[in-house]
């Protein structure tokens, strides 16, 4: 029990976990499929941007503020750059950088969380107080301070966001390791003579991986939002980089040319929505209790 709030993502962690199977019925539902399709489209857009984009992201033309037309599907910005091309190239920043951010947070958080859960005692106390401390600040405030102090750049924004997002994983993994360690089947396996490593890999790990994957999927969406938010504030990616948040920010100064901020914003929105569709469905697959898909109220 600690004073600070539950993990920062609105994840309602289930009491009992199921092992995650990709073929699970919940995964075949329309929401999961829609999410996966949109996500694949964005990943493809990121990879194929040089082929798909009609223009280079920083190619300046003489048609400034051109409204969307057949020549420029998403219009052009204040320097006459093609917004569609910039949005496509933007996927090359937001998607992989946020993925990296989540991966680093996940590795650091899960490692510290399992150390805390496994060893307990002083190490546990130390790590968890650190977690409490980070949780005591709303993420954006801490990120704001860190990026301000280190100077605005994409790397520093990522660093700041890793700093605020690892504790979620630490807390969840610690809880999972603790509860799995006390579970009867783990005790039994130990009594039957399995080594500590066998127990950890065969019995504890599978129980930890599912919830962490769900958490990471939902955190991925959140990371994209926060990173774009910091760039929007001018604390992340710097111009002329084609980054979605920074593009929306540029659009605020040219209010009447709605296409400048609408399309990059739509890109952020669809990307995050897809991840949340997917994460939500994964959560259902993992925890049928109280999910949005299971039928009947059987316990």
């Amino acid at each position: 029990m600690s004073l600070t709030s539950p993990p920062d993502l609105g994840v309602v962690l289930p009491r009992r976990y199921r092992r995650l199977r990709i073929g699970h019925p919940a995964m075949r539902r329309p929401l999961a499929i829609t999410g996966a399709v949109i996500l694949v489209i964005w990943v493809l857009a990121a990879i194929l941007a040089p082929v798909l984009a009609p223009d280079k992201p920083d190619a300046v033309t003489s048609s400034l503020f051109a409204a969307p037309s057949s020549a420029h599907l998403f219009g052009t910005d204040q320097l006459g750059r093609d917004v569609l091309s910039r949005v496509l190239y933007g996927a090359r920043i937001s998607v992989p950088v946020s993925a990296l951010l989540v991966l680093i947070s996940m590795v650091i958080g899960s490692t510290l969380g399992s150390i805390a859960g496994y060893f307990g005692g002083f190490v546990d106390g130390l790590i968890m107080r650190l977690v409490d401390l980070v949780f005591a600040f709303p993420a954006i405030i801490l990120a704001l301070v860190v990026t301000a102090v280190l100077g605005p750049s994409l790397q520093n924004a990522v660093f700041a966001l890793v700093l605020v997002s690892w504790p979620t994983y630490a807390r969840v993994v610690r809880g999972l390791v603790l509860s799995a360690g006390n579970a009867e089947y783990v005790q039994t396996s130990r009594l039957l003579g399995a080594s500590a490593r066998q127990t950890l890999v065969r019995d504890v790990l599978p129980n930890v991986i599912g919830p962490v994957v769900v958490l990471a999927t939902l955190d991925f969406g959140n990371a994209i939002l926060l990173l774009a938010g910091l760039s929007f504030l001018g604390l992340g990616a710097q111009p002329p980089t084609a980054e979605w948040g920074a593009m929306v920010s540029a659009g605020t100064q040219y209010f009447q040319y709605w296409w400048m901020s609408t399309f990059p914003g739509l890109a952020i929105f669809t990307c995050v929505l897809a991840l949340n569709f997917l994460g939500d469905s994964l959560r259902d697959a993992l925890d049928p209790h109280g999910s949005w898909t299971t039928r009947g109220g059987g316990r």
Binding site: T4, P6, A136, F137, A139, L144, V145, G229, L233, G290
Partner: protein
Amino acid sequence: MANAGWQRLLPSRAFGRFVGRRLVALVILSIGIVVVTFVLTHMVPANPALANLGQNPTPSEIRNFEQINGLNKPLPVQLGLYFEHLLQGNLGTSEVTNDPIVHDLGQTIPATAELAILSIAIALVFGVGFGLLAALRRNTVTDFILRILSLVGVSVPTFWLALIALYLFFFKLGIFPGGSRLSPADVPPPHVTGMYTVDALLAGQWSTLWDALRHLILPAIILAAANMGLLTRYTRSAVLEVMEQDYVRAARAKGLSRRSIVFGHILRAALPSIVTVIGLAFANVLTGAVLVENIFSWPGIGQYGYQASVALDLPAIAGVSLFIAVVYIVINFIVDVLYGVLDPRVRIQ
């Protein structure tokens, strides 16, 4: 009856101990927050003396600046000084506005408080309503639509939503004003709380109240989007959990009205789980406020903190993060205690 209800709320011994433990944790965490804020804002690569004295300061100017701000002393001594000043209610002076930070906070906090309170209220009404509806209509089209709505709410970038809303409702339709707290023609009401709506109400200035509300409503709705999504989800799962309980079946079996079952039995029991999200909702509103206040030129603490961090105004950054973190853990403390009040099982642990 009222008496019995009151007695039930009187702190038992276990509850007193529960609150006491939480209070101790609160104090320890607050000290930790001060240390973290101090370390973050003092172990910086950027040199605050250079940042403040402009181009090419003379060495004596730098020495003077460091003397005044205690920058030439070792860090632990500086930390001690920082605590001492804090206890005297002194957060230092902003390097941008040249005002005491406490004064600046006093100016900006009411603006954000007004916005945050209205926004959380909107999110609570719609989130809890939608969540309840989704649970009662489980696995129907309504449920599915509400699920998508709640996911949209948590997925939409707040700053983008704010821009679109401004474009539509201000620029195109002209229904709402385009930012700031009052129309230029309007004079702020006499200062009591600093919240314009409340102050206007107290002074009986109806036209000012109306104007302040018109400025408040659009940013408040935008800030409510994420929390509405969050609360829909929490309420839905909390209500579903309760609906399966035996006493709900019993209430249904003995023929209670649907309304009485839903509000008296189900929602009452689901309330503790819903209350726990309020701390999180506050964090969400603040995150949104940093972005939305910027777009709506709302002179609140989010914008103040943002401007301080852009200008590397370290005392102001420290003051803002300190204040917000302490409010945040105090809210979480209140939520914890409230949870104990609403759900007596929590106290005995």
